[in-house]
Amino acid sequence: MPNRSRNVFAVLLPVAAFVLGQLGTPCRASAQEVRAGLQVRRELFGVVTDSATKQPLSGVAVAVAGTDMVARTDDAGRYRLAGFFPNSVSLVVREVGFAATTMRLTLTASVVEANFALAKRVVQLEAVRVQDDSVARFLATQQATAIMSASEVREKRGQTIGETLKELPGVAVIQYGPSIAKPVVRGLSSQRIATINGGVPQEGQQWGGEHAPEIDAFAANEIEVIRGPGTLLYGSGAIGGVVRVKPRPLPTSGLLDGEVSTNAFLNNRQGAASLMLEGSELRLPWLGQLGWRTQVTARKAGDAKAPLYYLPNTGFRELDYSGMLGMTRKWGQSDITVSHFGTNLGLYVGAHVGNLDDLARAMQNAYTTDTFSYHLGTPKQSVTHDLVAWHTHVLLANNSRVEVSYGFQHNNRREYDSRGFAAGTGRPAFALELFTHSLDLQYHQPETSRLSGVFGVSGLRQGNLSPGRSFLIPQYRIYSGGVFGLETFELSQLTLTAGARFDYRYQHAYQYGAPVVISPNDERSYAGGSGSLGVTWHLSNSWSLASTGALAWRPPNVNERFSQGVHHGTAQYEIGDSSLTPEQSLNVDATLRHQGARTRVELSGYVNRLNDYIFLEPREPVATVRGSYPAYNYASANALLRGAEVTLQYAPSSWVQLYVNGNVVRGLDRASRTPLYDMPADRVTTSARFFAASKRNVTAPFLEVGGTLVRQQDHVPLVTIYRLPTSGYALLNLELGATAIRLGRITVQPNLSVRNALDVRYRDYLSRYRLFVDDTGRDVVLRITAPFGSTHKPT
């Protein structure tokens, strides 16, 4: 009985806190301290900084030990915790790359300031992120991982989510102008990369080169890219890597906060704006007090400009909106997200060609204009993606917990042709609709100082409709399920991780209804195991060496087995092969990390041996009444991918930061010893950032000078109709920004950058328009973020 009444009381506390919170501002409330048992309503606040650089750290979790109260720091490093506290509490601050810090406070006043200066620690080892799902912890420990923090995302946010990732180690993008950017991780892309959006695996029509992830770039708070297989936790498929897009956590304090973000891109005269509102004190009958957030993003872009001309019909429009509701209770946490992504994007007219003659003509005499336009003609795509995601985690004894994630996604893709007699009629040439339900259940075992682990099951049901008039891929149904387990053992200097997973996939492709298309009814199931073994060796306080060996597999997708048709914007016919067998990957990688007081080093190397690697093999052109077409068969071969990434950061003084990142990938067909198609060119990104002293109204202003150096791509297959090799190029980039500028009562986070400042003409090997036109020229980008609301008031 006493136990139950205490629980009831505990549930009522937040309600009481809310009611009392309405009585006035925290300061006034402090004057009228209200006693509730032994606990008193108090407010704790402070700033978290990096002890070495003195820079504020954003997104850092500050937790009250023994409770599930957590706050995250804002962009100025500030946090605020409000609620009922006993007279003495411990605050625990954890952040990846820093030593966890605990501070014991004796609370005498009702408003208490507690500041933290975090010291960098070895690497991302044992980094525990409170409220995060445990996956990041495991992967960050052993696999090569790049994390873009909230402030980095804000500074680098591109026109699409893919473009935002462009400069991360080991990442390249396949681009169709500014509107389509598809991440390539260590030479692999499309279905080989799992994109996890807010905990749910993104299921769009991800297979086509011109199908980019359907995610609002403004909704991403943090982005994490894991290089190498992620199949253990994300299922068969993710043999190339994982891109995790994390929305910001729901607020646990504040009545109403918000943020206005605007991006302006001069090159294609694009305006983009996003408005986010959130709060923690929404009360609903029956459910109690909830945290909430809503966000609306709109974007409008016109034709992109290369140094000498505009690329007609490369503009796009995007409208995204989302809403999120969640509760944090003693038993754990639960939230629901509903989001919509919608884009209408043009494809460069000149690249959309028919037969071989048209292709040769388009390559020789590219179609360009001297006049800018926002007009969106054909060919174009209209894509919407709707997502409902529900996560719950329930805390059990000894820090163990159960996590459940359910996702429903509806992807609706319409492609409008400029060719064929349907052109101009408003009817799409292709239409594809994908419905996906996914469920993931994880049990995180009680942690001891030596052992932690997670076990789980996941399932997926997917249906694809092809309601268009033309055929590209058949309608299909997929059921798949997996079981996995992962254990981490901590020894004094070694962290060992071992995991295994089993997956089953049933794939039913339905016969196409038209007499002309030969696409039979086909049922097939695939089963396979994945395993991984990793070790991190803490060489010293500042050095560590990590290595992972992983076996992974991926069943062939429906498009690889049954494609039959032309891809818009690529001018290529693709023909599937229904007899393809699953890909098998054996990947071994090693990462050496160093974190000194002024230096940070990450050196990674990998060898990925792929058996039955599926790729598009050029075949002889096929003759039709329209003439001859360039055609490709889906074929498989044994391949070998090797590569390395180097990242060096050095701060010679507190006002200079130097950065160099280099990437090399080599792909080889093991039988013919010829290079694989579509591998990124060797690339070095470098920058020097100079900080000036903070002034009264300006925090941490900086100027950055950077360069992108790309070597020519000469590792290309011999047999091809395209003149494939591309020359090397060098781009100069400039950036001017500040962590915060205070303008009267508001604080803004401005960033002005110039990409390709010298307006250099170049063609990137992964740009799909490279056969016809140059890549975009100089772009001046202005990004301004202005947070507002109760937790952002100048203190």
């Binding site: 409709l465 048709g565 077409y629």
Partner: protein, 199 residues
């Protein structure tokens, strides 16, 4: 814990109801597709030449899967046997007859979109020509330009005798109004050869 479970249950039931509503969304891929198949496929191309006097000449070619791969277009059926000194009235017919129950006249579609299309006829036979003046016209204003669904073919009296020359027919499809139809920004809807003899 009981009250906690109550809130979990309440919250879950909201989520489950929401999910159930969504799950009702229709995603049955086993259902047949209405109007599937591309009616814009050209599966049969026929050239017919009618002389001012004498027997008309016909040749056609069939693409067994339209413009969908992988089946290649078949060989021409029938040869256009030209007589020197003769002028022919020519017509071209494009059909989608892949579904015998639903044969679509694509020539009619081209005629409807005449301002975006133009046929080109070129011969490898010396002394045989298709003059631009003999092509039928579109409906652009103020100036009408050739479409070429109907055309005139002239075998000069001085034409060279040949047993194996060809008539190449191309159809250019323009993204915007074609003007005179000689611009270089177009897609090729048709590019196909027919065998010709000249005697």
């Amino acid at each position: 814990m009981r009250s906690s479970w109550l809130t979990i249950r309440r919250y879950s039931s909201v989520a489950v109801i929401l999910s159930a509503v969504i799950a009702g969304a229709c995603d049955n891929p086993a259902a047949p597709i209405e109007g599937a198949g591309d009616p814009e496929n050209i599966s049969r191309v026929t050239v017919r030449l009618t002389p001012t006097s004498g027997v008309s000449q016909t040749s056609f070619r069939v693409d067994p899967d339209g413009t969908t791969l992988p089946l290649p277009v078949g060989a021409a059926q029938g040869t256009l046997a030209l007589v020197k000194g003769m002028t022919y009235a020519g017509t071209i017919t494009l059909l989608n007859d892949l579904d015998p129950k639903n044969v679509i006249d694509i020539t009619a579609e081209v005629r409807k979109e005449a301002n975006f299309h133009r046929f080109f006829y070129t011969l490898t036979c010396a002394g045989v020509t298709v003059p631009e003046a003999g092509l039928d016209l579109d409906t652009q204003s103020p100036t009408k330009y050739p479409v070429g669904i109907n055309f005139q073919l002239i075998a000069a009296a001085s034409a060279a005798t040949s047993s194996s020359c060809t008539l190449n027919v191309r159809l250019h499809h323009f993204e915007s109004a074609k003007g005179n139809g000689l611009g270089s920004v177009f897609d090729t809807d048709l590019s196909i050869d027919f065998p010709v003899t000249v005697n």
